[in-house]
Structure formats: C-alpha cells, structure tokens
C-alpha cells in the first residue's frame, strides 16, 4: 500500500482535491499544512475532506523555504502515516501543487515490482554537479543560522565571514552529503531505519544549520540506509534555462500526460482544466497512451527562444547589442549583385523570373539613391515595407534586416553598387551572411555611357572619379570584409561565360540556374572600343585591358 504525505501551504482547495483523489484510489494521505496558513483556510480544508477516513492531518510546523522546518514537516507527515497505517509499504512525498500524470495503478505496479527500491534523486556533490545556482558544498561546510528569504544581508555576511575565517563544519561520522530533488518515494524499510537511527537526533541538529536541508536530509540518510536506490524522483519537475521550475497551465494537459514521471509539479493554482482532468478517474481508465515527444519539443523550443532567440529578428523583445555581436546573424543568407546589369541586359528582371519558381526573390537596386526597386516593382512588400526612400534611408540597415526577416521563407537577392552609400556598404561587406557577386570593372561601362553625354576631358575625369569611388568603396572596409565575394571581370562574362556562370552557380541557392542568363553571350556596346582608345590616349592604365580587346575582336570588330 502506498501512503502519501502532502506538504501544503496555499490554495488548499487544490490540496483537498488531490488528497481526495488519492484516497479514493485506496491510498492513505497525511496532509501537513504550514502553521503559517490561516486557521480559516485550514478549517475549510478540514471540512472539504471530512468523512474521508483515509485522509488525516500531521502535526503542523511553521515552514520556511530553505530551512529545517520543511524536514520537520515531512518527518511529522511520515510518522503520522506509519502510526495510522503500519501496513504502508512506500511513502511518496508530494506538494500541494503536484498532480498525477499517470494512473495510481501504474505507480502501484512499479512499486510492487521493485518493493526494495527507493526512488530518490541523491547526487554525490563531490563527484557530480547538481546545483544550478548558488551554494553547493558550502551548504554543509558552513553554518547557516539565517533565513535567506528574510535575512539576506545577514545570510550573505555570515557566509562571507566564515569563508574568510576558513570555517569548515564536518559531517557527522559515517555520513556523506548527497543532494537531490525534495520530492521522493521511499520504502518503509528505509524510512523506518531513518526514523529509528540511534544517531537521528545528532543528524537533525547538524542539518538544522544546513542550507536547504529538504534537498539533502533524506537524500543523505537514504544513501546510508537504502538497500537499492534508483536515483531519480517520480515527480517530474522541468526547469527553465535559469534553473527555475516551469509552471504548468490548462493548455499543457496533453504535454503532461506524456511526462516522464508519475506526478508533475508545479501546477498553476488557476489551472482548472488540469485539476478536473488529471483528478478524474475516467481520464485514467483505460490507461491513455503516452508520448513524451510533445513535452520535450515544447521544452526545447522554450529554452531556445529564451536563450538564442530567432535568428535575424529584431523586435521589442530582441535587440542584439552591437557590443555583443557586431552584426547579429541574419534570418538567412542573402545575395548581392554588383555590376552585372551593366553587362547583361535586364539582369535583375531575368534573374527574378528564373528565381520566382524556386524560392528566390530578386530585387532591383534596393539602395539606389533615387528609389527602392522592390521585386515585382511593388510599392510595398511583406510586412508593409515600402519603396519610400526617406523611410529606407532613416535606418537602412534595419530596412535590410526587416526585409530578410519578413521574407525569410525565401532567399533574397538584390542589386547594389558599392562605393556610393557608405553606411549600408559597410554593413553588407562585414556581414558573414552576405554573398556578394561583383563585376570588378563594371564602372568602366558606366563611364562609357556617361561619355556619350559629355566629351573629351570631362569624360576622362568622370571615368577616373568612378574608378576611385569603386576602389574607395572597398578599401575603406578592407580589414573587415566578412561577406563572401565572388569577383569577376567584364571579360570573364564575355570570354568565358560557362565558367563565370558556374562560379556564381556554386554560391547561389540550389535550383537557381543562373546559366540561362548567358545563353545569349553578352556584348560590349557599340563605340566601346573607341572609348578605350580615348582612355589609352589620355594615359589611363586599365587592368584587364588586353582581355577587353579580346572581347571586342570576338564581337568581330563591330565597334
């Protein structure tokens, strides 16, 4: 027969429901109600369980978190159970905010199969870490006469002083300290040995000055007396990344019914649905199937959200500081094309067309000084990000971050001309999530087009200025380029289109066949040869001059 001890201090109508459920399954229950709880609440609880002979009350102690009073309360509960029902074979310790997550029959089966076993988490702290936050070894080696909750200053000062003067308490003879969850199931054998241990009074006086003894008293003494220990609690408690126990709500019913243990805590006192369902015998007949995955999945997701968050999101709740990460990770990699449109006619439109069916959005020049060329030439895209230049330029980096986040289901590419807009250039170049494709000397074609409208010296001047701007655009951030760059030349696109396309292909999302853009080999514009001649005459030295000549002759000297 399994007996229960319930430690309760608030929301006693919930305790009453739990106790009545256990009693109805044939289990005796001793409830310990904190002596600090009002007489009115206590009387109401008594009235609620009146007439149920399997529910009795233990002698009340005034309990305080972290102190020995909780052990006193537990001991008095266990003694009450044994005094009334000597035939009890195991005692399970529960709190007022626990609920069963498996049928009591299943627990009975388990304990019948392992009658000599104690289920108690009891970790050797000298060997394994258990404490997430706060004192570990020093719970035992220092004196803790002060309340951590009420006398924090004194508590801390006492610890400090004892450390300074190297105070070191030693354990009573024959004991090694063990720590673990407060909630356990112990066999009558082990509990009897603990209660009748001739040294019990000495142990108690030692643990009176241990910090949080409810996590060590029974754990340590069980290790001394138990015949066999399974080192985990039958009460599931799930902790958040900060080490605080999660509280379960009505919508967690399905998750809880797949939980690992036989009981779960903590249940939110207002979770009506959980109390009704989990304390309804019908829920457990027949035994429902169990699936642990939904709970595990929910726990993993909650921890991820809290600690890592969703990559690429900036929001009221997540704003990674530049002090911690220069550029926070983007929602996904993005693709920036510089100069291709000077060589390949309608480059962006054609790439957008190719990309549409394979999850790739190709925008025009997102950061052009005089406009925002959104994919499909729309005025506003997902999230109502608009083509208004003033709004884009207000916080251009966040315009980019928002675009990538809003459309994170698809890859994003856009055209850009480095060297004209310093702030966003720097951002893109130092972003490891950016993949840049650059036609290195595309500025030459810009210069050529400009030379059609001016003439002579002015055209030369303009060309040189463009070249300098281009160089400056990169050299400013040369130390800090973290984006991956695929650098091509005009001549590469014309003389070796296959290879150029393949080089880009490797770095683009799979399925996007960029080679289609080269099917018609690109041509240099008419008059370009003459333009090069003018530059030669003016003494401008160009990289790759020979290959440009080769392009021209490939076109059959059409220029």
């Amino acid at each position: 027969m399994i007996g229960f001890v319930i430690l309760a201090h608030a929301d006693l109508h919930r305790t009453a429901a739990l106790a009545r459920f256990l009693a109805a399954q044939g289990c005796p229950v001793a409830i310990h109600v904190d002596a600090n709880t009002s007489a009115r609440a206590f009387e109401a609880l008594k009235a609620e369980v009146a007439g149920e002979p399997r529910i009795i009350f233990a002698e009340r102690h005034a309990c305080e978190w972290g102190r020995f009073s909780l052990v006193d309360a537990t001991l008095s509960g266990v003694e009450t159970v044994f005094a009334q029902w000597p035939e009890v074979s195991h005692v399970t310790l529960l709190s007022g905010s626990c609920l069963p997550v498996r049928p009591i029959k299943a627990l009975q089966r388990l304990l019948a199969r392992y009658p000599d076993t104690d289920f108690i988490e009891a970790v050797d702290i000298r060997r394994d870490g258990w404490v997430k936050d706060g004192l570990s070894d020093e719970r035992f080696t220092l004196f803790h006469p002060f309340s951590w909750r009420r006398q924090r200053g004194l508590f801390d000062r006492a610890v400090e002083l004892q450390r300074r003067y190297k105070v070191r308490r030693s354990m009573p003879d024959g004991l090694r300290p063990y720590l673990g969850s407060q909630w356990w199931t112990l066999s009558r054998w082990t509990l009897r040995y603990i209660l009748e241990d001739p040294e019990l009074e000495r142990y108690k006086s030692f643990f009176r000055l241990v910090w949080i003894p409810d996590e060590s008293f029974f754990q340590t003494l069980a290790r001394k007396h138990s015949r066999r220990i399974v080192g985990r609690s039958l009460t599931t408690i799930e902790f958040d990344p900060l080490g605080k126990p999660y509280v379960f709500h009505s919508d967690h019913l399905e998750l809880l019914m797949g939980a690992r243990g036989y009981f779960a805590r903590k249940i939110w006192p207002g979770a009506d649905h959980l109390y009704t369902e989990l304390l309804d015998p019908e829920t457990w007949t027949p035994e429902p199937p169990r699936d642990r995955r939904p709970l595990q999945h929910a726990l993993r997701r909650a921890a991820n959200i809290r600690t890592m968050g969703r990559l690429g999101l900036i929001a009221q709740h997540r704003f990674p500081s530049p002090w911690h990460a220069e550029i926070p990770e983007a929602a996904r990699s993005y693709y920036v094309f510089d100069g291709f449109d000077t060589v390949i006619p309608n480059f962006a439109e054609r790439l957008a067309h190719l990309g549409a069916p394979v999850g790739f959005d190709m925008h025009g020049h997102l950061f052009a000084p005089d406009g925002v060329e959104l994919n499909g030439k729309v005025a506003a895209t997902d999230g109502n990000l608009t083509d208004n230049t003033a709004m884009r330029d207000y916080r251009p980096e966040q315009f980019l971050v928002n675009l990538l986040w809003n459309r994170r289901a698809r890859s994003q590419g856009f055209q850009h001309r480095f060297g004209r807009r310093t702030a966003i250039d720097k951002r893109i170049q130092s972003d490891p999530d950016a993949q840049i494709f650059l036609v290195d000397n595309a500025w030459l074609l810009d210069a050529f087009r400009q030379s059609r409208t001016t003439s002579g010296q002015a055209a030369i001047q303009y060309t040189l200025a463009l070249r300098d701007a281009e160089r400056r655009g990169w050299s400013l951030f040369a130390d800090n380029v973290k984006a991956d760059r695929e650098v091509l030349r005009i001549a590469d696109l014309i003389l070796e289109p296959e290879r150029a396309a393949a080089a880009c292909q490797r770095k683009l999302p799979p399925g996007l066949d960029i080679r289609a853009l080269w099917r018609e080999p690109p041509r240099l514009p008419d008059g370009f040869g003459a333009f090069l001649g003018e530059l030669d005459a003016a003494g401008v030295v160009l990289d790759d001059r020979d290959r440009l000549e080769a392009c021209l002759s490939l076109q059959g000297g059409a220029s």
């Binding site: 799930e238 958040d240 990344p241 900060l242 605080k244 999660y246 509280v247 379960f248 709500h249 009505s250 919508d251 967690h252 939110w268 207002g270 929910a298 726990l299 909650a302 921890a303 959200i305 809290r306 600690t307 890592m308 968050g309 969703r310 999101l313 900036i314 929001a315 009221q316 709740h317 997540r318 704003f319 990674p320 500081s321 002090w323 911690h324 990460a325 926070p328 729309v378 005025a379 506003a380 895209t381 997902d382 999230g383 109502n384 990000l385 608009t386 208004n388 003033a390 709004m391 207000y394 916080r395 966040q398 315009f399 928002n402 986040w405 809003n406």
Partner: protein, 328 residues
C-alpha cells in the same frame, strides 16, 4: 534616488492635488488584484468594450482620471462596481499628458500590485491569452524576477477608408480594424534611459513618410509590478528607475512581451484629430495631429495589399512581433 526621479515624484504629488474624487472604491481592492490606470476624456462609446475586455482578462479594479468629459463618461464609469474615478478640469498637457495624475494615483493605491497603464483605445494581447488569464502571466514574470513587460503599440486599421469605419458602443473594434503592418518597425536604443525607441507602422508609413524621424514612438512598458517610488515620465514609454526599461534582451534571446492593439483609426478619428488640434493639448505641438489633418485629405485609408490580416496572438508570435520569451 536619482534627482530626476525625485523631481517627477514631487511633481506627481503636486499634480495629484488637482484630482477630485468622484467615487473611491479603492478600499475594495484585494491584495493580489491586477489594476488598470487610465486617463479619459469624452470616450463614452469606447468604455463598455474596454471594461468587458479587461474584466475577462482578470483585472480586479479600474482607476480612472476623467479630464473634464461632458459626454457622460464620468457618470458611466462611476456607475460600475469595480472602478474608482477622479475628475479634474486642469490641463492635460501641464500634467505631462496625464502621466503626473496617474503617477499620483499609483503612489497612493498601486504599491505591491501589478498595474496596467493603458488608454481606453489600447488592448493588451499577450502569449497564451486565449487560455491563460493575465494573472498567469504576472505569476510567470514574478517567478522570473521580471518587474515590467513590454507591449508596443500595434496600430490597427480597416480595409476601408478611415471615415467609413463606424463603431457602436459595446462592439469589438477589431472586428473592423483587422489589419496591421507586420514588419516595418525600426528600433534605436535610448541610452539615457535604457529603453528601446520603436517607430514604424501605418502612422509612419502614411502620415510621416517624408519625415520618418518624427513618427510617433510605439514602444510601451504598460505592465509593471508597482513599488512606491516608481514613476512613468513620458506616457508609458519610459519609467524610472531606469532598470525597469530593460524589457528586451541584448544577447540574442527573447523576452516575454505583448502588444497593445490600438483602436485609434475609427471614423471618429478625423473629428477627434481636429478637436485635439484646436485644444493643442498634445505632444510636440500636436505635430502628429497636424500631419493627420493634411494627409487625411489625400490618402483616405491605411490599407495596402501588403497589410496583414489579424488572426490572434499566435500569429503575432510567429511574425516575431511578440514573444513567449520561453514561457512554456
């Protein structure tokens, strides 16, 4: 205590003297009750739904400052069983747009309570709200030692032109105001006070597109566990001591937060904008209202094909506008 905070506390005490009690039921406030503090002026049509919405979330008591209403607002509020009402005809602007009055009331009645400070056109949406009352949320914040929660303003609008969006008392305003901007918000840390300055949404997009820097601030910290000595200093955008403004995560993680659905863009808006402009009782010379006046003539609506239809908190969480912050 910082000098600035002391100044605001003194100011609250002084401005508190402008308030005359209409009905004071604060003795009924239970120890753990969640409280709402709000300033109202001629909001009669909105009150029924406002009270209904927040009662359902579990608000225990409403504390109102009535700024000289003449449409029955004061009488309606005083008639409710769970309200306390004060009235004043003093200047809204001179009371820092109501902030001082509410600070004064909070100093007297809010100590130890979770308080929600909202206007009657602001409706809190938070994770799990379909199944968990507000008390579950504040318990979670308590358990995590969080004393304040962010809920930015989310301006809601209809597909129809603003002047066609009629509203009758008691109706859910979001039955018609069911669109919003999902992803055009911009953020800047405000180093002096540690809060985030948020702008964007339809008001920036339509009314302030050519001067986006002047778009109204959307960041709000309306839910706070109140302790005597705390003060809001600018709407609920900023609170002192400034540690309370740290409602976001800087290391990449997410924090639990909600939004305030903003039911501003109803047919009454144009009228209200005109009236407010004449009173001149709003922030920065009522610049916002001037822009509305001008723009409303050209653009009749806020909706675009890229607007998002509202579906509930899960959708906002999916979009990243709010976060469970790891609240299981």
């Amino acid at each position: 205590m910082g000098l600035e905070r002391a100044k605001w506390l003194l100011r609250a005490r002084r401005k508190g003297r402008e308030l005359t009690p209409v009905v004071d039921r604060t003795a009924d406030i239970k120890r753990d009750a969640l409280l709402i503090f709000s300033t109202v002026r001629n909001e009669h049509p909105r009150l029924a739904y406002f009270l209904k919405y927040y009662r359902r979330l579990g608000i225990g008591h409403f504390l109102f400052v009535d700024n000289d209403s003449d449409d029955g607002t004061r009488e309606y509020l005083a008639d409710q069983a769970d309200t306390s009402v004060w009235t004043t005809s003093a200047s809204y602007k001179a009371s820092t747009f109501g902030v001082d009055w509410l600070n004064a009331l909070k100093s007297r009645h809010a100590d130890g309570h979770w308080v929600l400070v909202v206007d009657v056109d602001e409706f809190l949406v938070y994770p799990h709200m379909d199944v968990r009352p507000l008390g579950a949320l504040t318990d979670w914040l308590d358990a995590n030692s969080k004393r304040a929660m962010s809920a930015m303003l989310l301006d809601m609008y209809s597909r129809d032109p603003i002047e066609d969006v009629e509203y009758s008392p008691g109706e859910d305003p979001f039955a018609t105001l069911n669109y919003f901007d999902a992803g055009n918000y911009v953020f800047a840390p405000n180093y002096g006070y540690d809060n985030l300055w948020i702008q964007g949404g339809p008001r920036q997009r339509v009314f302030m597109a050519s001067e986006p820097e002047h778009a109204p601030a959307l960041n709000k910290i309306p839910l706070v566990r109140w302790k005597r000595g705390q003060v809001f200093i600018s709407s609920t955008h900023t609170i002192l001591p400034r540690g309370l403004n740290r409602v976001y995560d800087e290391w990449g993680g997410e924090r639990t937060c909600g939004v305030l659905l903003h039911a501003k863009f109803l047919a009454t808006f144009a009228e209200k904008a005109k009236e407010e402009l004449e009173r001149g009782e709003h922030y920065a010379g009522s610049r916002e209202y001037k822009a509305y006046q001008n723009k409303l003539k050209e653009a009749s609506g806020l909706w675009t094909p890229a607007s998002t239809k509202y579906e509930g908190w899960r959708q906002l969480e999916e979009l990243g506008l709010i976060s469970t912050g790891g609240w299981l």
